[in-house]
Structure formats: structure tokens, C-alpha cells
Symmetry: D2
Subunit: 307 residues, 4 copies
């Protein structure tokens, strides 16, 4: 009989050597403290069954995996038309911190999965203050992750805030092109907090489950967002979720996914499962190297590619 | 009872006004002769049933819709690793005739769905001469389209050849960066012929069927290519098939597709159907404007989005 | 007998209609209040004789004409080697607020006549605080301009500071690439003050005189800086002083010059004269339209071109 | 008493070690055959006196030093307004074979000292055929160089023609943007021949003399072109003559000059002298490394900087 857990354990063992080829993110001091050998995976199937292996309860910061949640919150607060008008959806083919344009910059040059677009999305969240906006984003994250205890990693947040000058440059560019109205430091505080949310593989798998099941939570079948929001988010994850390794990932794995420099990957197998991965050693594009290896093998074994 | 044909006829009537907003391609004189009011659709479902409406038997040139066929021929002749090493797979976010780089250009900057990459793929086709390479490509096209009578439109071919200086510039750039060994005019002759292949909606639907069914021809279940080639091609179509409107198309329609400036769109609904569209009035990104409208409506009615 | 003043008055009358074709800068509200019809010229020849015509005593903000003074202060405080190592000297061919690079940015991509490089130069001025650095720059400006009453235009300074988000983006880019160590707002405060220094045509002519005479003040022959600093500054003015109209200006006028969006132009005719111009209606490159016209005519009449 | 020849011999000895740090051009096989240790200098002062040292009679190909001659021929045949309308004058800050633009390209993006602009200038030369155009260019070169025996180096010409695919790409880009009407291979044949003209230091010094003396030949005082053409050419040489080392050269040497990858430099000291240099070991910008060293020392000793 097929045992999912055995498969997952095998995947972890097979992927472990790959982690040695990667490098833990060091662009902020706090991230460089991660254990490069840590590796975990967690799966929640659409029938609600869960399987896991490795370091699936280790906490790490969500980083860019928060981008689809930011996008969902913006969609919930404004609807598709408004969001698409303010943050475009075309791939840029640029790395995660790319400045999309040097002279003329309009909303259609932005993308929710690239930093500049993600910063612009913070301003789209409803709330009287940025503290209130962030609290609403955190609440959505807890709901999607099925974990009301989720909170930010204060040390990473402070480290991001202290060193995030590239993001400051991006935010001021948005502002000078009329794409951001609020105070840069207010917006960035929300963005840095969002990136510093501390999660586990299980949390990411749960978020992936909800996106795979078009907005329904497991077990309760409570609906968090309308089904066409899932189509919107998953489509963008497919074209831009893995930085400038998205094309390769679409071929090798074939499902929507989002990675973060904290080492997390959240993958969405529409109608079938949500997957959470953690392994902080990154390839040169900023994606978890062992994480992609595990997803590739899993996709091959379970025929996950949607193509 | 649901009648597919009635739905298709309705879609055509609904999309007709959209065609008036577009513009027939005029970058080569021959293309500008197309009737901007022409509009057709053809569907082949995985059970082999066919439905159609409108001008589904009108002939038009395949143009960029030949790119996935070029890619398939390159894969068949060389395997995935070799092809990926010579023509990369990342989205560029650039329009269809974009020059991908101005100083350093390597194979990973190319993409099979962008002209420069497509020209490079011509050189990957096996054959002693470029006439022989093209003949093999034409044979594969006939097989995929289920139509042994397919041939090139001589007038369009000559027009492309006479005016294709942008493609000449691209080919010489490839050559100067060591990404093309053969004579530019030989390679381009093959490329111009490939773009000038004359097809119908039905042909495109048939090609889409084979990609949707991982290499199997309808009825006979004869296999034209291994299943993982379909995953490779479909993944690239999803991220880059609709020029720099690919992100928007992924959201609105949600299936792999390829458009051409001749007005054709071939769409692939994995495991479910192949779709061929013709309507030569284009939007500002070079995609058939009524064609996208029809596909969006069809996707909504039949829940085609793979996300 | 040749009368310089008559020539200058003639030049002003001839150039007046050209001003109507330009547009007063409006990127900060205060600048848009300038009188588009104002026009003045002042010349100081190497023998110390002065001539002028038009609105030569009207005050306007120095804007980018402060860049060569920033460069001189940086040279005085650090020497040529150190300055050149921190701010490069190659033309970028980009407009005055260009972001020079989007991914890799090093000191050699900067230029003292482009905003990003000018901001970097503020940090090179000696001083314990940025208030002290600015005071030293102001003192040098007063000395070069032969006018101890020169000060900043408080309203323009506040307006620059309130709206200068493009410069904030540039400064954070410098910081994130390791090209700026100090606090962005401190550095920018110095930069915004520098741009807001209020001057007259006569002041600019005096500065031009000192650069034309390799560092010597008129009358007293007191030396402000060594002669090879003048060669350094004048060479950069020639290649980059007139934004992306520098090539055209070199042909039509043929002397080192620097323009500012306040409508000023300072021109240096090596060994012969300094010229100050004011006319706030700008062409599409940000240069005073009547100012260039006057300089072209003056160059033709007096054979000023150094080529 | 000052002896120019002794100074030149001293300069050569001082610069010799610098040549060891450079590299002979190898982008075409023929160029790589040059002796990296060769070094020569020749000066013609405005009073007609000549001095030289080192390998001043060794022949080498003119390469990009032909660009100012191409520009002069275009000016002679069409006047300033027409030429400036077809080939712009702004610096690009790009290396010598840069493609100036990837999407929109107009005449103002070109520059006579960058390959794309130089190719466009070939088409501006009057003549019924490109053979005739080239013959007129060669005649002008002979006249400017004071040497009726000058001709092309056939081996270099054939090598350029066989391997010049970057220039083919540039020419097709010009054509596709409507900036070139004639057949690409015809135009390039003229361009490749122009680059292959074989010269000596003495020839270059003679050309520099004519530009320094606003169109007058030495001794005879025969006028080859009007004085304002010299201002046009010299101004462009100052801003763009030394590839993307032009800014540095303006500071260190301070005179208009043009270098070629054959190792030649022609320098113009307005009203004072023409200088010809040969030393084929190049720096990473494509300029003769010992040549620049010699010019810097010469400028310092003789106060040649025009700033």
C-alpha cells in the first residue's frame, strides 16, 4: 500500500545533499542564522488528510510567501478590477528585488510577486492606520494558515527595517511616479512586518490547501474568499511565483508556487493538495534548492503537473 | 441539453463587436489583406467530438503559433536537456520581436516563444539542409494538425523574406554571441517558411488536442511525442504564449495558448480539449482581440481554467 | 568701436521670442512661480571688465549649477584620486534625474553632473555634521561668486525637501549598493539646501570666471583651488554639463557650461571669460532655451568655441 | 633648448611597460597578429614642423579612427543640418559596438562615433554605388593624411567582412527602424573597407593637424573643409571619441581624439598640433593603453588641455 509519509521521508533523504549546494540568505543578518541543514515538508490533501516529514514544525520567516496573502487581502478589500488597475500582472523576468523601470513607470509595470508591486499592495489594504492594515493581513494569514498563534519574528522585523534600503528606494520610486500616496516609512513598516511573519511548513501547506480548493478551509468548508480570487492568485504564482526561475519551475514541477528567501515554498496543486516546504539553503535565484528538488520528485511520483 | 455548437455560435456573435476595436497586422504587406471581420472557432474534445462555428475553414498563416511546433521538433530531435541548454525557458516580459539583451546574451536569455529563441530553434532541427529541416517541420505540422494538405502561403513567405529585417538583426545578434552557427539567410528562410504555413481553425484545434492529450492523436491514439514534452511545451505556453499579455491571459482564461499575428490562437486544455481560433483584428500586444474574448467566455462557461 | 554691452542687449532682444517656446520648471511648486519672460546675461572677462544686460540682478535658485561647486568642494577636501574613485566621470547620456543602473551599480556608473553622483558628492564634503558640510559649501559658493550675501531660498528649499522623492529613491539606491554610508535624510537635506542657493547672473559669471582662470579670483588674483581642478571640472562640464543636450551644446557653443532647472546657465570660456545667464523657460531637456540661444550667438560673434 | 624629439623618445620609453598590461584586439583574426610591443608617435605642429619617435612608419588599420573622416565626408556632401538630422550627436556612454536601443530607435539615438551611427553615415556619402562612395572616402582620407599611397589592408578587410556579424545586426536594426534604405551588405562593404584603411602614425598626425587648423592643409594652406566642420567634428570627438573612456580622457588629456582597436589614436590640439599614435595593446575599453599614457604625459609637459 502507498504510504505518503514514507515517500516524504524518502524525498527528504534524497534532497538533503542538494541543500549543501545552496546558501542561506544573508542580506539581513538575522536570516543568516538559519540552519542550512534544516529540511521539512508538509502536505494537506483535499480530503483533509495530512502527511509530513523532517523539520515540519521549525519556525522560519515567511518572507515573499506573504505576497500571495497580500494579494488576497487586496482583492478581498477592493475586488479584481481595482487591484489589477493598481498593480499589473505581467511577468517581468526580473529577480525578486528588481527595479522594473528606470524612467517611465506605471502600474502595469508592477507585479504582485515582485517587491515593488508587493509594497504597492500594502497601500491597497483597508485600514485607518498601517498598524490596522497589518493587523488585518495578520488575521488573514492566521485564518489561511489555520493557526491563530502566528505572529511576527521581532528580531527579523527589526533587521529588515534597519537594512531595507533597496525597498526604501523602490517605495520612493513608486511615490515619485504617483503609484503610492502614503508615507514611505509607514507603508514599509507594514511590508517589513508582513515579511517577518513566522510560520512552519504546516502553516504553508494549509495556505496552499485553501488556494488549491478555491477559498475553502479544510474540514469546516468555510469559505475565506471567492473561487475566482484563487484563479487570479494561482495564475500569477504560475507565471511569477519563483522569481526568475518561474519558467524552469513550471516545466519541472508544473504547479503554482511561491518561494521566500527564508527558505519556505508554498505550492498549490489545484483541487488536490497544498504543500509546505522548508529548507533555507537557496540557489542563485533565491529559491530553496532542496525544496525545488523535493517538489520535482513529488510531482513526478504523484503526477502533479497541471500541464 | 447543452449544445456546444450553439454556445460557440453565441460566443462568435458576442465577440464580433470586439474585433472592430482591433487592427489587422500590417508589418508585412500580405498580412494587411486579411478580412478584419473574419471570425471562427473550432474545438476537439478528448473524446474526439468536434464542434465549430463561424469561419472555421478560412485559411490564414500560422505565424507565431508555429513556435510550439518548432519547439516540439527540436525536442523530438535533441531531447529536453539539449534544447533547454540552447534555448532558455524564462519569461522575458518583452513583446514578440524583442531583442532580449544588448550586451551580453547567452542561451538562457532566449525563450522559444520569442522570435530570437524561435530562430535559434530552427538550427536545432535535424536535417542536412535547411530545406530538409523545414520539410521535417512541415511534416510534423501536418501530423499534429491531422491534415496532410497543409503547405505554405507563398505570397506571405515572400513578403516575410523581403521585409524581415528585424529578424535578420536578431539572427546576426545570435550569431555574434555564438548562439547560431549556420548561415543567417539559410536559417531565416526556414523560419520565414515556418511562419507562412497556411492553416485553419480546425488545424489549430487538432494541434491543441494533441498537446492536451500528451502527445496522442485523436481516434487512432497514435503517439506523436512523449508526454513530458507536452508538459514542457504547455508550461512555456502558459508563461509566455501570449506575448506580453501572458499574465493577463493566465488570469482571464487560465489555459496554455499561443497566438500569432495572422489572427490565430491555439489553446490547450490539458486532458480536456484543443481549441483553434481565427480572427485577425489584433490588440496592441499582437493578440487576436475577439479571439481572447471568445476564450474568456468559453473558459467561464466550461470552467476551463486549470487554476 | 566694439561695445560688449550693445552686443549683449542685442542678444537678449534676439533671444526673447525663443523663451516663449519653453516652459518654466514645475516639478516643484515654488519653481513654477518664475517669470517666463525674465532674461539676463552677465559677462566677466579675464581682464576683470564686466558687461551685462537684461535682468542680471534678478535672484533665482542655482539648482544643478551647484554641481560643479559640489565637485570643487569634494576635490578640495579629498583630492582628485579619492573623488574619482567614489564618483566616476563617464557620460551616461541620460537626463538629469536618471537612475544610472538597475541591478549592479558601482561608483564608476555615477557622474558628478547627474543627481545620483551629486548626492554622493555631498557625503565627500568634510564636516562633522551635514549642517557643517553645507556651511562649507555655502562659503565656497560665496567665495567663487564674489558675493558674501548669498544664501538659500527658504521656500524653494522646503518645497524641494517636501517633494524630492525621486532623489530619496536615488539616495537609497546609493545606500543599498554601498555607495553612501550616512543617513539619507541628512545627506539629502544638504543636497536640497545646495540646490536652493539663490544667485544672480552676475554670481554665475563670477564662478565661471574663476573656472576659466584656473582657480584665480578676479582683481585680487587670490587662488581658490589649484589649476588642475579647473581642468577636471571643465572637462566634465563639457561632456555632461547640459544634461542630454551636452553633445549638441558642444557643437553649437563649444565651451564648458552647466545649466539648472531654475533657468541659470554658467559658462566657462577657458582663459577668456565667465558667463552667467538667466532665463527660466526651459526646453525639453531642462536647459534654458533663450540661454542657449544667447550663448550660441555670443560664441559665433566672439569665436568662443574651444574646438 | 627644448627638443621635441627627445621628449617623444622619453615618452615612448616611459609608456613601454604600460603596453604589457594591455591586450591586442582579437575579435577578428587578422588584428591579433599585431606586435603588442610596437609603439610610435608623430606630431605635426601648426607651423608645419614635424617630430616623431618609435615605430612611426609601421602600418596598421585605421579602424574607428576613420569615423571622424566618415563624418567629414558626410558633412561635405550634405551640410551640417542634414547630417545632424540623420545621425545625432549625444553621448551614449556605451562601448564602441553598443546597440543603442532595443525598441524604439530614432536618428537622435545614433552617434557618429558609435558603430551604428558610423554605418548610417556610409549611406550619407554621395556616389552612385558603394564602390564610388568608398573611393570618395578614400580620396578624402588620402588628402587629409597627406599621403596619396594610402589604401586598404586586404587581409583585414576580408577578415572584417567574414566575421562582422555584430555590424550586420546593427545595420539590420537601422534598416528595420527606417534609418537605412540601402542594401545592408553594400553599406557594410563600404564600412568594412573604411575600417581596413592602412595608415601610419604620421598619417594620423596629418589628419589631426587639419582638424586642429580648421580645415587647412599644412604648408599649402589649401582648405579641405570649412572651419565650422572642424568645430563639429572636434566637439564630438571630445564627448565620444574614446569610447566609454571619453570622460576620463577629457580629464587626463583634455583634447579631442579618436582611437581605434587597431591601436591608433589621432589627437587634435586646436590651433596647435595634430598627433598620431600607434600602440596596439588595448585597455578594457578598447583604447591603446600606452597611447593614452603618452598623450597624458605630453599634455602635462606641453599644457595641451583646452580646459
Amino acid at each position: 500500500m502507498f504510504k505518503m509519509q514514507e515517500l516524504l521521508e524518502q524525498l527528504i533523504e534524497d534532497a538533503r545533499p542538494a541543500a549543501l549546494l545552496g546558501k542561506v540568505a544573508d542580506y539581513i543578518p538575522e536570516l543568516s542564522k538559519a540552519d542550512p541543514g534544516a529540511i521539512g515538508i508538509h502536505i494537506i490533501r483535499s480530503d483533509g488528510k495530512q502527511s509530513w516529514a523532517g523539520d515540519n514544525t521549525v519556525r522560519f520567516t515567511i518572507q515573499s510567501v506573504v505576497k500571495p496573502i497580500l494579494l488576497l487581502q487586496a482583492l478581498l478589500d477592493n475586488g479584481i478590477d481595482y487591484v489589477k488597475q493598481h498593480v499589473g500582472v505581467e511577468a517581468t523576468g526580473k529577480p525578486f528585488d528588481a527595479i522594473n523601470a528606470d524612467q517611465q513607470l506605471d502600474a502595469q509595470h508592477l507585479n504582485p510577486m515582485v517587491n515593488m508591486g508587493a509594497i504597492a499592495m500594502c497601500a491597497l489594504i483597508k485600514g485607518n492606520t498601517y498598524a490596522e492594515k497589518f493587523q488585518r493581513l495578520l488575521n488573514l494569514t492566521r485564518q489561511l494558515a489555520g493557526d491563530p498563534t502566528i505572529d511576527i519574528d521581532e528580531a527579523v522585523y527589526l533587521s529588515e527595517k534597519a537594512t531595507g534600503n533597496k525597498n526604501r528606494a523602490l517605495a520612493y520610486l513608486l511615490k515619485t511616479h504617483g503609484l503610492l500616496q502614503d508615507e514611505v516609512e509607514d507603508v514599509l513598516d507594514c511590508y517589513f512586518r508582513a515579511c517577518s511573519i513566522s510560520v512552519t511548513c504546516e502553516n504553508l501547506a494549509h495556505i496552499g490547501y485553501v488556494l488549491a480548493n478555491r477559498g475553502m478551509l479544510p474540514h469546516t468548508n468555510e469559505r475565506v474568499f471567492p473561487g475566482h480570487f484563487a484563479q487570479y492568485v494561482n495564475a500569477i504564482l504560475m507565471t511569477c511565483g519563483m522569481y526568475n526561475g518561474s519558467g524552469e519551475f513550471a516545466i519541472r514541477v508544473g504547479v503554482p508556487a511561491k518561494s521566500g528567501v527564508g527558505g519556505g515554498i508554498m505550492a498549490v496543486v489545484p483541487t488536490r493538495m497544498g504543500i509546505g516546504i522548508f529548507s533555507p539553503a537557496l540557489d542563485d535565484k533565491g529559491n530553496s534548492i532542496a525544496g525545488i528538488r523535493m517538489l520535482e520528485q513529488l510531482s513526478r511520483h504523484l503526477y502533479l503537473s497541471i500541464f
